[in-house]
Subunit: 321 residues, 2 copies
């Protein structure tokens, strides 16, 4: 059984190759470019973790892990086009470096490559794996569309926001674990517990991310604190503030969102604190984390085998702790 | 055995449904919009034709046909974004009607839906079908990238142009026939003859399309004659003119391309005629068509079963004839 860092290394050894032909390099160099930026490889490692929970790692788990990482990078390329994002992992985004048309197409080619890896999986498992992968890919598209729809509105309902976050980010984490479990021969009960573990952990991570963007220690938090507030982003915090603010606070909040005052971040944070959004978010994060851990607990394998998944939860929840 | 129009009707009866969920409609209505514009459904009908060549139509052939049509529409949505095309099938393109971000994402969701249909195919055939489908999807991306690369250059080599056209358009026709054949239990020899039939027919069609754009009867040709010349498009004709023009003709051609004179179309056509580009193109078209028909001839099934494929060739080559 391997630890989180060991699995990460095992995956990298196999994945850090050129996945695409040389020709036409105008299409495939941009695809290789984003893969070379690396990233934390959390999702493919989840496939391997879900797999080794039940047995030695099956070679097919590496194919599924590669497919998941390629899918993730495909979605990053396309999301960055839609969000007009200039930077990714500290480097120029694909569309800034190579142009939007090529980025769009390189994303498409990467998506096809994900299915090429899935098609290496043994026929007996292929249909089940494809079914989950396709559902997940649709969910991620739906989440991204909901996110874009929210941007056009003043606020969003909390249920809709949770649905969006779940589809856009958590489902991929959840599906990665479940893919590994399927390939490890897990029964449906265990598959579903792992899925719920990943889904709830993903939501807890997002609550924490939103919290740290507002209340994080600037020295420890990677991004600029207050970035979401400056960008008028819908977050767990902002939506809860909209749901709980008194009329005078609500008026001030709307005014702050409309006009970019110099002390915008400071004033919005004060409203958040007055509405106890910070305590609420901490509680909410813990609620999702506990639900995640409960599902891990319920997964019917020897406790000792669950250690890497606990490491994962610790890793994702460790910022600032 | 069904005729071309009968197959077209059989496909439409199954395909003209809503393929996507209602929610989020901001994502899925745009996807349904392009499907409702219809189109000629040539590619999915090719799947059915390739299939019924060997036996009664297998239900899986309808799944593969739906996947091919969804893939084709996915590529149209994304190509229209890249080409900044305002119209498609006489209506607004998806990105003009719904915005570029939503069009990009609706294309992605349609691509996933294609794989959902493929995943309905019986497990024994799935891997072979996916292998061909993935290769074809990569080829179409490569062809589109080569096409965009050519647009930045003054001219292109004829071999590169044939490769681009083959990848961008012919391979999908060829693969559609071959998918049907695989699902019909065809041997490899027959699969490959059908692939070559479709590939060469597709190239012949493109040569004819380029020819008619320059020399077609405006009353019979659907598009405005001379459109490719006005847009400085690389075509079989233009590339051959570049390869055969004498120095004075070449200088005039380059001048005409640089400056949009009022009589540009007329003058370029005169150079084409002086270089005998028209005769050359007619011969080239016939060469590809004959190669296609030779492969159909070589396909080892009863001649009577080949009738719908001959109808297809007649249909595609019938414009102006």
């Amino acid at each position: 059984m391997y630890s989180f860092p060991e699995l990460s290394k095992l995956f990298d050894e196999r994945f850090n190759i050129r996945h695409f032909p040389e020709h036409p390099n105008t299409l495939y160099d941009p695809a290789q470019y984003i893969l070379a930026l690396k990233g934390k490889r959390i999702r493919p490692v989840c496939v391997l973790m879900g797999n080794q929970l039940f047995d030695e790692i099956d070679p097919d788990a590496y194919h599924a892990a590669a497919a998941i990482e390629l899918f993730h990078n495909f979605s990053l390329i396309h999301d960055d086009i839609m969000d007009k994002a200039p930077m990714r992992r500290g480097m120029e985004t694909v569309h800034v470096k190579y142009g939007e048309s090529t980025a769009l197409l390189a994303g498409d080619a990467m998506f096809v490559k994900a299915y090429e890896y899935l098609n290496k999986i043994k026929p007996a498992q292929l249909q089940k794996v494809l079914f989950l992968f396709n559902n997940t890919a649709s969910a991620v598209c739906e989440g991204q569309q909901m996110d874009m729809d929210f941007e056009k509105r003043e606020t969003a309902g909390m249920d809709d926001y949770v649905e969006m976050i779940t589809l856009k980010t958590s489902v991929l984490l959840a599906a990665s674990l479940k893919l590994g479990a399927i390939l490890g021969g897990a029964g449906e009960g265990n598959q579903n517990h792992l899925f719920e573990f990943g889904k709830n952990l993903g939501i807890a991570f997002q609550v924490q991310d939103d919290y740290l963007d507002a209340f994080g220690n600037p020295k420890k938090f990677g991004k600029k604190v207050g970035g979401d507030i400056l960008a008028n982003k819908k977050t767990f915090l902002m939506i809860h503030a909209f749901e709980t603010a008194k009329p005078a606070q609500m008026a001030e909040l709307k005014e702050l969102i409309k006009n970019d005052a110099a002390d915008k971040v400071e004033k919005v944070l004060q409203i958040f604190k007055d509405c106890k959004v910070d305590d609420w978010a901490t509680e909410l994060k813990n609620k999702y984390l506990q639900t995640a851990l409960m599902h891990l607990e319920e997964t019917a394998v020897l406790s000792a085998r669950k250690k890497p998944l606990q490491e994962l939860a610790d890793y994702l929840m460790m910022r600032e702790s």
